[in-house]
């Protein structure tokens, strides 16, 4: 008898899409349940597009987009957003860079003004560049150099798995490369990638569609038209032999390991990709998941364990090539080889027998909760829809994700597990140098 299955609910956020004459694509998703709005601008450029010798440049440039623009002095952007009761940020990913605000809804026009102004052109000066190189170096020290497991595995695994510069290099950047960056580099980068035709604007929350459309037209309509650059092909062949690497982390007290396997193209083969997204959760979501039950509870071979698709942990904002990752921290003296052998054993078992009764359904119910919870935040909807528009031309997919995840079958999960073979695996091991 099949276990009782929770019905997977859906959201019905409305979606309006249009394109301005300058090529800027716009997505509106109104929801008047709270007097707040989310505004996101997403540019189709990320870590993979950085030129050689300029590692970390996409991220450094993201910082420069906050340093003043055509009509705004340095510091003005921050003050205008926060002085309207809002919050802001930006982030750099492998395939895109986003800029966003959450605000009380009376600040809609102000937010559009601010985003349009920097889309016309940031103030790229030597002084701002040097200042932000210093800030970025401190960011890297906080997140990578001064702490244990810094950059593990998102910075340390790609060079094991990939061979080409775009996919393999350190996206935070080397201090040498950051320090060699010039204002001319920044101007070129802006001209090439920060084009109206290469951007998506999304607005969510407490807005009236007609009013918001008019305001978008007013503020972004005269942003000079520049087309999107051709996006290079970042494809790499799959691995045919296992790859292993290791390094000593002087600050880490315990061993750790991460493994990755390539997955189908998230954009062109979404139906083939989705089972891997579900598989990662079947393996690692909570105490009842396969690998947690086996490795943490039964064998006590690992202390903590995680699994996800996409090197930054978000399966719905990446393009090919990407991977399913598993990462684990081991107890003192833990045996990495044994952990990897056990993972293989559990994958074999799943590939042979398929999920147990109810195992998939409960994982899908939990995934639905996570997806819905993210979309409850007004900004979560704007960001997600902007990226779905940019990468797929399909922002409304956000409403369908819980259902689509729920439609993945036992057989699909079984088949996905069967492809995670040791010979397709890239692994990175952290050797603790900080054990006391």
């Amino acid at each position: 008898m099949a276990a009782r299955r929770s019905r997977i609910p859906a959201t019905k956020y409305p979606v309006e899409r249009f394109t301005l004459d300058n090529g800027l694509r716009v997505v509106l998703t109104p929801d008047r349940s709270a007097p707040v709005i989310g505004v996101a601008v997403v540019y189709d450029v990320g870590i993979r597009s950085e030129p050689e010798g300029r590692t970390g440049f996409a991220h450094l440039f993201e910082h420069l987009m906050f340093q003043g623009s055509e009509n705004l002095e340095k510091l003005a952007h921050f003050r205008h957003v926060q002085g309207a009761g809002g919050t802001f940020n930006g982030s750099t990913h492998h395939d895109y860079t986003d800029y966003y605000e959450t605000l009380p809804s009376n600040a809609l026009e102000r937010a559009l003004f601010l985003e349009a102004d920097r889309m016309r052109g940031p103030r790229l000066t030597e002084e701002n560049l040097r200042n932000q190189v210093d800030v970025v170096k401190e960011e890297i020290r906080v997140n990578v150099l001064n702490r244990p497991y810094g950059g593990f595995p998102w910075l340390t695994l790609p060079p094991v798995m990939f061979d080409t510069f775009p996919n393999a290099h350190d996206g935070y950047g080397s201090f040498d490369d950051l320090e060699s960056a010039t204002v001319d580099d920044a101007a070129d980068f802006f001209r090439r990638y920060y084009a109206s035709g290469n951007a998506v604007l999304a607005i969510s929350g407490d807005v009236d569609v007609a009013e918001a459309t008019a305001l978008v037209q007013r503020h972004f309509g005269d942003v000079p038209a520049r087309p999107a650059p051709d996006r290079p092909d970042f494809a790499e062949p799959d691995l045919t032999a296992e790859r292993r690497s290791s390094y000593t982390d002087a600050l880490a007290p315990l061993p750790a390991v991460a493994s990755a396997w390539r997955v189908p193209d998230p954009i062109t083969d979404f139906a083939g990709y989705l089972p891997y997204v579900v598989l990662a959760e079947v393996l690692t979501d909570g105490d009842a998941s396969r690998l947690v039950e086996r490795l943490v509870q039964r064998d006590r071979a690992v202390t903590s364990l995680g699994g996800y698709v996409g090197f930054m942990g978000d399966p719905f904002d990446v393009r090919d090539p990407t991977a399913l990752l598993l990462q684990a921290h081991l107890p003192p003296g833990g045996d990495v080889d044994k952990v990897l052998r056990t993972v293989d054993e559990e994958l074999d078992r799943l590939a042979t027998d398929g999920p147990t009764d109810g195992e998939l359904a409960r994982t899908q119910a939990r995934m639905a909760t996570h997806l819905l919870r993210d979309t409850d935040a007004v900004l979560g909807r704007a960001l997600r829809m902007a990226v779905l528009e940019q990468q797929r031309g399909e922002p409304g997919l956000l409403n369908d994700l819980p259902r689509l995840v729920g439609e993945v079958t036992d057989e699909q999960v079984r088949a996905a597990a069967a492809t995670l073979r040791p010979e397709r695996r890239a692994s990175i091991e952290v050797v603790p140098g900080g054990a006391r």
Binding site: G83, P148, L251, V296, R436
Partner: protein
């Protein structure tokens, strides 16, 4: 910007402010003493759950292990069954503890609310702390503590708490590995019997619920939860005692962790709204003097931040920044300068207006999600407040004048009242720090 500097495109004005509107809610105190608050926000078909149980004066290691193993099994379910049953309704629960409270929190599909409450009740009334699972979780907790002790943020926090709280229970919040290793299942069962009881606990449910019906569901599931346990009052937190800068030596550090504690007041204190604004002006948001100075002007740091932290036994303002080792002295100098400037000179009216708008706006943002509302409602309830306090607080923020803010800044943000801790490479940073303040150096300890 001056008037002569008019730009070709002017910043659009803001529309009229939206009034703060509280969501529909209901509250009930059950026969066993449990308070249940249900709040309606139907945006997505989920429900958020927070159960706040006071835990003042709980044995540190046993408390940490209690949270670590509470979901490890009941009379009727194993840990895997608990997790699987929760997952089946899209749910999950996790437990956490601090010197104020034990918190069970989670979220799930709203259709699974009854089931989540049933499982919650089973855990509260029948957690068994099975030997095998307790053994596993003990090792995991020890590993986690070891990892925490290798992180500068944790080490800096630990040193600051010890320096600020002295002999108060807040002084040490992470147990030593040896203490954790000594915890046995019997001690956990005893602690559960003593402290996991409904009398002063508050359950918050927020989401796509009808508040009265959610209260009925909670009453049905939890009315039988009982226990003859006790609560323990925490003594008031001691006042800050300024003294030499405490330099904690972490050789080889490429950054220094700068932490400054200043006096603060609870949410209900008449000075609180003005203090919140003064804190924003100093370092509480990006457009603050401190961030604009040491990040945007000088590039000493990535993310400096200051925050008023509220606990049951007292409140404290904590400012923190990770700064490059070679500019540790200059960063402290600028920090002291900005504190001193705010404490001795009144802020500019437009600067205050900007901070006020931020404080009011982020109140709206904070209550615009189910998760945000749930955490806010629970935090308020933990200090005896209800969501209605939001309106009261907003009114005080709206009223605070330049004089009010200048006055509280002098009282609370004065560098003379600061307790300062720096974690970093003492050999490299001590000379510059010693030029600015008396310094007492000690080795890093967990």
């Amino acid at each position: 910007m001056s008037v002569a500097d008019v730009s070709p495109r002017a910043l659009p004005p803001l529309g009229p402010n939206r009034r703060l509107k509280l969501p529909k809610q209901a509250e009930r105190r059950l026969g066993n003493g449990l308070t249940v608050i249900a709040v309606r926000r139907p945006a997505v078909p989920l429900v958020e759950l927070r159960l706040w149980m006071p835990t003042g004066r709980t044995h540190l290691a046993r408390g940490a292990m209690l949270a670590q193993t509470m979901l490890s099994g009941t009379q009727s379910m194993t840990s895997v069954q608990i997790a699987a049953e929760l997952q089946a309704v899209g749910g999950g629960l996790s437990a956490g503890i601090d010197p104020d409270r034990l918190m069970l929190s989670g979220a799930g599909l709203v259709t699974g609310l009854d089931r989540m409450l049933e499982i919650l009740a089973d855990v509260l009334t029948g957690a068994t702390y099975p030997g095998q699972e307790v053994g596993t979780e003990r090792d995991r907790l020890v590993d986690r503590i070891q990892v925490a002790q290798s992180q500068p943020a944790h080490l800096a926090r630990t040193a600051l708490l010890r320096r600020v709280y002295g002999k108060h229970p807040y002084a040490v919040q992470t147990p030593e590995p040896e203490q954790v290793r000594a915890v046995r299942p019997a001690a956990l069962r005893r602690l559960h019997a003593e402290r996991v009881h409904p009398a002063d606990a508050v359950l918050v449910l927020v989401g796509d619920v009808q508040p009265e019906r959610a209260l009925d569901a909670a009453e049905k599931a939890l009315a039988a939860w009982n226990g003859a346990g006790h609560t323990a009052e925490l003594p008031p937190a001691p006042p800050l005692e300024p003294g030499p800068l405490l330099l904690v030596d972490r050789p080889g550090s490429v950054q220094s962790s700068l932490r400054i504690a200043l006096p603060a007041v609870p949410r209900t204190h008449p000075d609180h709204a003005a203090l919140q604004l003064a804190n924003l002006l100093f370092g509480g948001y990006f457009s603050s003097r401190w961030v604009e100075n040491i990040r945007e002007d000088k590039g000493y740091t990535y993310g400096p931040h200051s925050l008023v932290e509220h606990s049951v036994a007292g409140s404290v303002l904590v400012a923190g920044a990770e700064v490059a080792t070679e500019v540790t002295g200059p960063a402290l100098l600028e920090t002291t300068y900005e504190l001193g400037r705010l404490a001795t000179l009144p802020p500019k009216p437009d600067e205050l207006e900007q901070a006020r708008q931020y404080a009011l706006g982020t109140l709206q943002l904070g209550m615009s999600t189910q998760a945000g509302l749930a955490s806010l409602t629970s935090a308020y309830a933990g200090s005896g407040l209800r969501l209605e306090f939001l309106a009261e607080h907003a009114a005080r923020l709206a009223k605070a004048t330049v004089d009010d803010v200048a006055e509280v800044a002098q009282r609370y943000l004065a560098p003379a009242r600061a307790v300062t801790v720096v974690l970093g490479d003492a050999e490299r940073v001590a000379p510059a720090l010693s030029a600015l303040a008396p310094v007492r150096t000690e080795p890093v300890r967990p």
